[in-house]
């Protein structure tokens, strides 16, 4: 299993803060994105590429090509606005 987290505007749009996903078939962050997009509706919109989405694996910012292992924590969120 992998844990998937959503933050800020994404969390509100998807009405989901976190979920567990089967890690089978999830080679990389891009595979996770593809599977989320397939859900259609707002999921397709959010992960369709029109709005900027940042991603982290195990709490480190990464890009989509990053490999995923069972037990990983994957997170999606908008560009950050702290400070």
């Amino acid at each position: 299993m992998i844990k998937v987290l959503y933050f800020a505007r994404l969390r509100e749009q998807l009405e989901t803060a976190s979920e567990e996903m089967e890690s089978a078939g999830m080679e990389s962050v891009d595979s996770v994105i593809a599977s989320l997009k397939e859900r259609g509706g707002i999921w397709g919109d959010v992960f369709g590429g029109d709005q900027p989405v940042l991603m982290a694996v195990n709490q480190e910012m990464v890009d989509g090509s990053t490999k995923i292992n069972d037990g990983d924590e994957v997170a999606f969120f908008p560009p950050v606005t702290g400070g």
Binding site: L5, F7, A8, R9, P52, A56, Q59, E60, M61, A75, F77, P78, P79, V80, T81, G82, G83
Partner: protein, 151 residues
């Protein structure tokens, strides 16, 4: 020597700076940046703000930034404290304070840390305006500020 903190409570600016320079007579310069909540953004009045973050990753990201500053410059201590939760205009949001023997290093490292924090640390601001709540958009000027430090 370095310290990174994410907290809902206000921080004491004087305490942070005093703690940084305390008892080290080799320190010749302390540069600090305090980011404050403004009552205007994008031309709209802002009444209050909520700061969301990604617990765990936030601290990791800040520590990585501080570590990189320490590698790039000859420093004698860095403090980063960032608030989360509900904030009002005039409230300090973040303090970055850096100590060094000479001022050039402290100025550069302080600006580096806040520039990186703005683009790499997972915080998100949501503000309440007369038209309702809205998420704050990231600024292109922050990307430009970060890009200056690339090497």
């Amino acid at each position: 020597m370095n310290l990174v903190k994410v907290q809902a409570e206000p921080f004491d600016i004087a305490e942070v700076q005093d703690g940084l320079r305390a008892d080290n007579p080799a320190i010749g310069a302390v540069v600090s940046f305090v980011g404050l909540m403004r009552d205007m953004n994008e031309g709209d009045q802002v009444a209050t703000m909520t700061l969301e973050h990604y617990p765990g990753m936030t601290e990791k990201a800040l520590e990585a930034i501080v570590e990189e500053a320490d590698e790039r410059w000859e420093l004698m201590g860095i403090r980063v404290i960032h608030r989360v939760g509900d904030l009002n205009p005039l409230d300090p949001i973040v303090i970055v304070a850096v100590a060094s023997a000479h001022r050039g290093e402290a100025f550069q490292a302080c600006e580096f840390v806040i520039d990186y924090l703005k683009t790499r640390a997972p915080f998100w601001k949501k503000e309440k305006t007369p038209d309702g709540e809205r998420w704050v958009d990231a600024r292109h000027s922050d990307d430009d500020a970060e890009a200056r430090w690339k090497r």
